[in-house]
């Protein structure tokens, strides 16, 4: 999948078979030895080398120290939620009701991958329908708000213009009166009210 330029070749594993092990080859064999991946033909000469070489023994101790981090970090198994397998199997068959799924097993499910797959087209359809409905509604409201036809326009003003405005002289004169000092932040709102 991801190969690196200086990968070791598979043949390298067989290099020290039966041959004398050097310090360099011993260092490269130690991880495989601790992982239990060496054949006896490889492990035997390595053991002999380790017996005679304190430096390589030290290197092996370091490898072991590292492995103890992983061994200590391996927590107890995760508790699988009750009914997980049944749920997954049901969803799998519900999401793929083709050749594999018997009709009885293809029960619709909310959520899950299969559910999500079926939900998207439905949501898109509903969104489109809602958009069309909103558009029609907006047009209808607009038409009701405007004078409809010649008769309406010719006969009378819109209702809101027929009602006499109750604006007292006090109100008309009010802009001439200097406004009372207002706390900061409220001024905009108040001036809006006056308008």
């Amino acid at each position: 999948m991801h190969s690196t330029p200086d990968e070791r070749s598979d043949e390298r594993r067989d290099d020290p078979r039966g041959a004398e092990v050097t310090c360099a080859s011993a260092r490269s064999l130690v991880p495989g030895y601790l992982d239990g991946e060496l054949t006896e033909a490889q492990a035997g000469p390595l053991r002999a080398h380790l017996f005679a070489c304190p430096a390589c023994r030290e290197a092996m101790k370091e490898e072991k120290a590292l492995k103890r981090w992983f061994a200590a970090a391996d927590l107890p198994a995760v508790e699988v939620p009750a009914g997980f397998a049944a749920r997954v199997a049901r969803r799998a068959f519900a999401g793929d009701p083709g050749l594999r799924a018997p009709a009885a097993a293809a029960a619709p499910l909310a959520g899950g991958e299969a559910g999500r797959g079926a939900l998207l087209p439905f949501v898109l359809r509903m969104t489109a329908a809602a958009a069309v409905l909103l558009f029609v509604l907006a047009v209808a409201i607009q038409r009701r708000s405007l004078p409809a036809g010649e008769e309406m326009r010719a006969s009378e003003d819109p209702p809101w213009e027929r009602r006499p405005l109750d604006i007292s002289p006090v109100f008309r004169e009010r802009p001439a009166v200097p406004p009372a000092p207002a706390p900061a932040g409220e001024e905009t709102g108040r001036s809006g009210d006056r308008r």
Partner: protein, 201 residues
């Protein structure tokens, strides 16, 4: 009557796969039950909560179901499923934006990165198991994807080099090389993040 017909006739993976493809949900359920512990164990190394773990595992099995007809029996079902699980977990990490190091494109990963020989000691006996686990997983999160996955598959899942090679689609030589580098990087990251465990020459 129908229920009896749906009972799996055999219980090895190959038969269960065949029966699932034939439309028997109970056979697929048995497959899930057989491997759910291992896939949950694998997924927890990539997730940060129980909900995330369950999402990864569920996604893994649903993907496996959809691709079941492509399972060639060239490798074991377990290896095939692990491959899907690893890819699902890595996709999950990418979607969550949790691993900034792009394994394939990163020249430091590809090239001859300076994997200095940092020495670290074994975890102190005074440390609680949970504390060691927290440190180890914190360090693993620092590693590029390919190295983290190599260590998880080997050190926690106990896969052999052959199984790792099949799961990751690489040669055994590459598995060895990747593990060698992964361990060197783990040491370096541990010493950098927790210098109290570095050993000076």
């Amino acid at each position: 009557m129908g229920f009896l017909v749906m009972q799996p006739a055999a219980h090895d993976d190959t038969a269960l796969v065949r029966e699932t493809l034939g439309g028997n949900p109970l056979s697929f359920r048995l497959l899930v039950e057989r491997y759910q512990d291992r896939i949950f164990g694998l997924a927890r190394h990539y997730a940060q909560s129980a909900v995330e773990v369950e999402d990864i595992v569920q996604d893994t099995f649903l993907k496996a179901f959809r691709r079941l007809d492509t399972f060639q029996h060239a490798s074991s079902f377990s290896t095939w499923l692990h491959k899907i699980a690893v890819n699902t977990a890595l996709d999950f990490l990418k979607r969550a934006g949790r691993n900034p190091v792009q394994a394939v494109e990163d020249p430091e990963v590809l090239g001859t990165a300076p994997e200095t020989a940092v020495r670290i000691g074994a975890p102190s006996a005074r440390l609680e198991r949970e504390e060691v686990a927290a440190i180890t997983h914190r360090v693993l999160e620092e590693l590029p994807e390919i190295f983290r996955t190599a260590l998880i598959l080997r050190e926690f899942e106990g896969l052999t080099y052959q199984e790792m090679a099949e799961t990751l689609g690489i040669s055994i030589g590459t598995v060895e090389s990747r593990l060698f580098r992964a361990r060197a990087r783990f040491r370096a990251a541990l010493a950098r993040l927790y210098p109290e465990y570095a050993e000076l020459d």
